[in-house]
Amino acid sequence: MIRRAALLLGGLVLLTAAPLLAAPAQPPVEITGATYAEFDARTDTWLLRGHPVVIARGATRIEAAEVRYRAADGVAVATGNVTVRHETLRLRASAVEGRLREERVIATGRVEALVHRPDGDATVSAERVEADLRRRHLVATGQPALAHREFSLHATRLEYEDAAQVATAEGRAELQMPEGRLEAGRIRARLAEERAEARDGVRLVSEDLTVESPQVDVDQARGVAVFSGGATARRGGDVLVAAQITVDLRARRAVATGTPRLVVTPP
């Protein structure tokens, strides 16, 4: 009797839970603005032209002069003054491949992605930008650059995570600041905190001052950089060597700790 009641209760729970467990309804894809459309069953592809053609799905909107949409895999290839909008992101490019099922876009040809932020918009420019719209994550290659307020970040490859507000530049990375230029193999910039960390062959050039070390932490708001792991600072003929050198870039003052050694060359 108890077993039967338990089974009945279990069944009831499953029945009532079923609608909750069901996959959420997918938002429809709406295409408007087209004045010409062509479908070819051999390629299973739609060609749409308009001024512009607008593809909207949920919070994502793609605008372009021409769109090729492959219904079988949900891929839309947009060309001609393409604009992608998704929440706080606005991306412009010559061409965009929109993978609507995955909510990903691959933009090519003078791409400019603008992320609206309360403390000032961040702009990512590159030859190619791959954006995961769901995660709000951008990967830029082909001379990528990120500009935010008075800072700019350049590298071979640049990633931007909007949720964490973190930009990571890899491969000949360079951070341009009002106080100078920071070069490294890898630079990670936390935009909200106005801080940056650099690793691998760090080199800072600020007017006549050059500092080199394996790593550095920069407080961009205060204009202070802490070089560690064995740092060397040069200014004219003077050389300062220490385990750690803290440089106030605005006051142009350096504090060395950890067996510091200073070699002064008279002018």
Binding site: P28, E30, I31, T35, A37, E38, D40, L48, G74, R101
Partner: protein, 194 residues
């Protein structure tokens, strides 16, 4: 004993064959035939001035034709043949299009006009078309252009293909809806997984 209606049928069949036979030379791509269903009944409509043959009305009739690889037939609850105007007007029409023997498109409409000179068929009054692989088309008017072997749909065009619905002002397509062109104000909706 032959009924009066049955006595009229052979006259109308002859008239129809003569009528279309005279047009065949002008449209070599289309070879239409007109044959009433076995149970058809018909009445003769008074002749219009200057026409060689009197206009005629048939019930439960079929018209069929061909253009290249495309063969078609029209089934209607009534057909009115007007030799002077060179056309047959059909009501409650079902049109079927075949490619190499396979049915590729079925259309139904309240009215249709078959033009004998061109072999064109214009279906109107709200046309519904069903093609292969679930493709469907609704429009106010659909024209079969025999010389170009294509259909042209106009007026509130709605084309459905799997999860995709396309609205447009005009659609132009082959009869199998394999290659389709739409113009005008186009709106596409893709439901479910895109």
């Amino acid at each position: 004993m032959t009924s009066p209606a049955a006595a009229v049928v052979p006259v109308l069949v002859t008239a129809a064959v003569m009528f279309f036979g005279g047009c065949r030379a002008a449209t070599p791509a289309v070879a239409p035939t007109l044959a009433p269903a076995p149970t058809a009944s018909a009445t003769v409509v008074p002749a219009s001035p200057g026409s060689a043959l009197p206009p005629a009305a048939l019930e439960e009739a079929r018209i069929s034709g061909a253009a290249g690889d495309v063969r078609w037939d029209l089934a209607a609850s009534s057909v009115e043949v007007n030799a002077a105007e060179g056309q047959a007007t059909l009501t409650a029409v079902t049109a079927r299009f075949y490619e190499r023997g396979a049915l590729v498109l079925t259309l139904s409409a309240p009215r249709a006009v078959y033009r004998t000179a061109s072999g064109d068929v214009v279906l109107s009054g709200g046309v519904r078309a069903r093609g292969a692989q679930g493709r469907a088309l609704d429009a106010a008017r659909v024209e079969w252009v025999a010389g170009r072997r294509l259909i042209i749909a106009t007026g509130s065009v709605r084309y459905v293909q799997e999860q995709m619905t396309v609205h447009a002002d005009r659609l132009e397509s082959d009869v199998a809806l394999r290659k389709t062109r739409l113009t005008g104000r186009i709106r596409v909706t893709v439901r479910g997984e895109p």
